[in-house]
């Protein structure tokens, strides 16, 4: 990770953690504005932060990780794409992908922490193989969503990323299902309460899966591209996108 991106993360992380899911007031928004975050993608020449898409990924992912109340990703994207345009839709799909990736990692961390603490039958739940296997599956899904988000960010920095955004949002959407299911299952009843911090993550995950293209939408988009290009082109096209 580049130095400037690390600094960005170190700045955003504690603030988002502090603001958390309930921050919606004006003063909360002002604290985000103070750091210049809404101008993340605006070029330096225009008074912005001059960030690239990997920088955006870092911020979006952390916004997801902390289930940040204000829709900062929408503000950031709003500065570089016209509301309602196809580009804004695609960029927001990317933003939601990154938020899903972050929220899945947070829900996973919460789940792992919980099963190591909570004891039943005389030992921590995390010692039971059924629990371990379920969480291992969850970890794979979280990993896939994170890799997909990185791949889409890299593509955005390179060129037209229509293919990658479609693939990444679809993959992240699919990860929501296993992630939220396992997270709630291993938490038992406590995870079903308003007091406990799981639902701010899982409820957003369910929301983000629908927003800016659900599974059906993106599989249609991506599928028609691939089918139109044909079987012979699939692999050469896929590799030409990266190297």
């Amino acid at each position: 990770m580049s130095e400037s991106r690390r600094m960005l993360a170190e700045m955003a992380d504690p603030l988002f953690a502090e603001l958390g899911p309930d921050a919606t007031g004006e003063s909360d928004g002002a604290r985000i504005d103070e750091l210049g975050l809404p101008l993340l993608l605006v070029p330096e020449s225009e008074g912005g932060f001059g960030g690239d898409w990997l920088d955006a990924l870092t911020v979006f992912r952390l916004a997801g990780y902390h289930a940040l109340g204000p829709d900062l990703p929408a503000q950031i994207v709003g500065r570089v794409a016209e509301a309602g345009s196809p580009r804004q839709f695609a960029l927001m799909a990317f933003a939601r992908t990154a938020q899903i990736a972050g929220a899945l990692d947070a829900a996973l961390a919460l789940s792992v922490g919980y099963v190591n603490e909570r004891r039943q039958f005389g030992r921590p739940l995390g010692k039971f193989q059924a629990v371990q296997q379920a969480l291992a599956g969850f970890a794979g899904e979280a990993a896939a969503a994170n890799c997909a988000a990185v791949g889409a960010a890299q593509a955005l920095d390179r060129e037209d990323a229509a293919f990658e955004i479609a693939a990444a949002k679809l993959r992240a959407n699919r990860a929501v299902e296993i992630g939220t299911t396992v997270a709630h299952q291993v938490h038992g009843a406590i995870g079903f309460t308003q007091e406990y911090g799981l639902h701010p993550l899982t409820r957003r995950l369910w929301q983000w899966r629908s927003e800016f293209g659900n599974d059906a939408y993106w599989s249609r988009e991506l599928g028609s591209k691939v089918v139109a290009a044909g079987a012979v082109a699939f692999w050469p096209d896929l590799t030409a996108r990266t190297g």
């Binding site: 996973l108 792992v112 371990q132 291992a136 990993a143 993106w218 599928g223 691939v226 590799t239």
Partner: protein, 378 residues
Amino acid sequence: MQTFVTEAVDWPDNAAALREQVRALVAEHGERDPVRRANSWTKADPEFSRRLGDAGLLGMTWPKEYGGHERSQLERYVVIEELLAAGAPVGAHWIADRQSGPLLLRLGNEELKRRWVPAITRGEAFACIGLSEPNSGSDLASVRTAARRDGDEWVLDGQKVWTTGAHVSHFMIALVRTEAGSERQQGLSQLVVPMDAPGVSVKPIIDLTGAHEFNEVFFDNVRLPANALLGVEGEGWRQATAELSLERSGPERYLSSMVLFLELVRHARTENDPALVALVGRLAAEAWTLRLMSASVAAKLARGEDPALEATIVKDLGNSYEQAIPQLVQAAVDFGAADTEVLRSVCFYLLQVSPSFSLRGGTREIVKGIIARGLGLR
């Protein structure tokens, strides 16, 4: 928590040229039968392996001194993903090029290296993996096959099973007990066993498709020179399990059913069925993601890191993906329709072999157990 930190993969500058080289070679000498292009890394074609050797595409990263080509890990990655995506018959040399060669170079004594490594790079020496035994499957630390010292020699007795390619291989790297009375992970060592050594016998095991890919291998009073010991006596467990992390994340862990996916794309073009288009989209998204994950592990390995958790995640997700493809194709395609013969035969072939995807190289349960340990759960 971040389970999988991906960084930009710096693909080699000459990647495009390498891809062209491999594609041309496969177009000329590869496998034409689509069924045999499925799961192609178990299809042995020694002639094809020799051609790869001639083209400088085996032992690519190894020192020139031993016949290697001193190219980068990612150049090799480009070559193997091209071979697998095209369903090339790479089974004969696969194990030797992927793990036995690197293991010999890392741990082998000079005689072992001279004897085997240059021949591997020419596509003339093939290797097999001797881990599993009749009573040692997932519980690998229970191996019983034993070697005892007799003067300057090792004397080997016992049995390995499920040994892929033993019948076309020239040597095996076997995990055996070298300390009598030792338990579990202690007292194990790795030995390099020439398959033509007196006392080694190979008995085919025919798999459920009728194919002969794996075998039983018996050792009856096999005498090996002292230098057959690979690495350090008693360190076999550590050496063998390090080897496993090398083999977990390669593109062979998600590409075994690629040929079926491509047949599905072909079929979807002629049908006008939104369900097929959607399935193509879903499987393409997964392929794209898995390729990034697998390549990103390769990039970390190339930098000398040991991304063991990431590698294991790639195997788990990749195996599930290549296993799901035939099931999903069967669920979506009407095999009674015209022009579905090829799709159908590839699909039914893969339905039959796909159970092995989450067994070989460590079962799904064992792999998930390793991931769980990586998460701090064990």
